[in-house]
Point group: C2
Chain length 96, copies 2
């Protein structure tokens, strides 16, 4: 399957929903494949957490505040990885 | 504050709990500082998601199955970032 910037959110929602409904290992494999697309689109790891939070809000409008806040916290904690990841892209581009 | 491998889990729990109790922006800043320590300890981004999931399990033993499963999914999706991050470390070490 090919993904575009526009349908990344829709695709993530579809794969996550499918996993939550089936618990299938095969869907986890799809999630790994999907990550490759995110990396190709230069999506940062904190953007992935933000996407996850946003889709969870859509799937569970009654999500307790504490759970939502915990995603905010994880997002903040992930930001350092985003910086390391962007540094990685610069180093890799330099080596090419 | 200095962290060791042994108390990373305890420290993350303390900071997350403090954020969930207070919602303080200052605690989010602490989370960012804490991430530096995780990076120094070469903790991968999927290990951070796993740590987060484990602490949420401790803080909320009644966490609904779907929420727990959503963390598993996020962890799987984050694995590609872990690989990119390890590649980054290799490139950086080569340049030093």
């Amino acid at each position: 399957m090919n993904y575009t910037d526009n349908n990344i959110e829709t695709s993530y929602k579809k794969i996550l929903e499918s996993y939550l409904n089936t618990g299938s290992e095969h869907v986890l494999y799809e999630a790994q494949q999907f990550t490759r697309t995110l990396l190709e689109h230069k999506t940062s790891p904190e953007e992935l957490v933000s996407l996850h939070r946003s889709i969870m809000d859509q799937l569970y409008p009654e999500l307790p505040d504490d759970i939502q806040a915990s995603f905010d916290f994880l997002l903040e904690a992930m930001m350092g990885y985003g910086m390391a990841y962007r540094e990685h892209q610069i180093l890799r581009d330099r080596q090419q």
